[in-house]
């Protein structure tokens, strides 16, 4: 249920915005990341990095990330996160996540 003010973005656009955030904020210069690359299994992002990424995803796509959703099945890769965002938007629509 998307509102006119906040149309639901396409999956490819969601992935693009996440990749842009990763490159701008979390990845070492020169490191590139594919949509299916495992973000969590190596040195790609650290424990604060994953919290920053989750905060970004919540605010950027206006979804409420429930604590129980914060598992590797939803955050393992760019494509997986985008899928989670699409499901969250389909279930609840975009909302105000922060006052």
């Amino acid at each position: 249920m998307a509102t006119d003010a906040h149309p639901t973005p396409e999956t490819s656009e969601i992935e693009g915005r996440i990749v842009e955030f990763l490159h701008r904020e979390l990845l070492e210069p020169g490191v590139t990341i594919g949509r299916d690359a495992d973000l969590l299994s190596g040195e790609v992002i650290d424990s604060i990095g994953i919290l920053r990424l989750a905060t970004f995803v919540g605010e950027e796509f206006r979804i409420v990330i429930q604590p129980a959703d914060f598992v590797v099945e939803n955050f393992r890769s760019v494509a997986v996160i985008a899928g989670y965002v699409v499901r969250a938007l389909a279930a609840h629509g975009p909302g105000d996540t922060r006052p």
Partner: protein, 380 residues
Amino acid sequence: MEFEWTADQLRLRRGAVEFARARLVEGVAGRDREGTFSREAWQACAEFGLQGLLVPAEWNGGGQDLLSAVAVFEGLGYGARDNGLVFSVAAHAASCEGPLCAFGSEAQKREWLPGLAEGSVIGATAITEPDSGSSALSLATTAVPHDDGWRLQGSKTFVTNGPVADLFIIYARTGPGVGGVTAFLVPRHTSGLVVGAPIEKMGLRTSPMSQVFLEDCWVPASAVVGGVGSGALIFSQVMEAERLLVMAPAIGVMQRLLERCVAHARQRKVGSVPIGKHQAIAHRLADMDVQLEAARLLLYRAAWQRARHGTATRESAMAKLAVSEAYVETCRSAVQIFGTYGYTVEYELERELRDALAATLYVGTSEIQRNLIAGLRGLG
């Protein structure tokens, strides 16, 4: 913007104050001296509904949200004197029941939540290791696949409730990186799980603590909580809630000490002048008042965010930092305002100070909260 508790939350808070005054005051000085945990007081808390407060009703819990639980635990801090026992209950609820409620399988919930909610099962969580400490996820305890399950190997320390716990949530490394940590549910009598001798502490002496050793400790695949590799993410969520729940009693304690200090400053005359007439004392009390309100608002705001809007990483770190620092400062001021009376065991302020000092250490030290707050801004 609303700054009011609901009638239900006020009723819960008032009930907690009355319960704590009736059941969590007597005998604390002796238990603190001996370093003993009161099973009787624990059970009284369970009968009052504290251990089950956040557990859904279908598992025999009270089904409250975090904001209402903060109201109740603040009430406990105000009414009780046994800070250690209240800490043990909060740790049980936030760090053992919390991950089970949010991430546990139906079978895990069915097996463990009713007992945890009723207090017949005591929960503990073990992440800290001798060589990891503040860098909690640099853990060396490993879990290796073995015979349709996992074999755990390593040692944990500073485990609250360890000496009396029936159920441990143990974090172990199952691979590299943030996605290489897994949470396991391990009952006390599992072969290979060894609970060390109680660790004596400066404060919170009625809350038992120990090391836990994992010596080729095999657990079935069904012991994994929330999926293999989700441990670090689960831990971050557990910490968010725990920072708020364990700090809520501190707001109640600060309120109680402020009221006690104001009364003392107005009544205690040195020569013929009440000490509260001295600006040095009056200003110290004014500062205590401001620190309490600022800490209180950050805590309520973070709990509200989490209850209504999901995760609250930044808010909970800020609340933890502000409440714990204000708590220590308030207890120090209380001792100062009472002079040497405040230094005596009889006045029970030295115990408050000893109990408070742990608050800037547990659930992430003040330095680690600052690292997190700055890190979320892309600093450090």
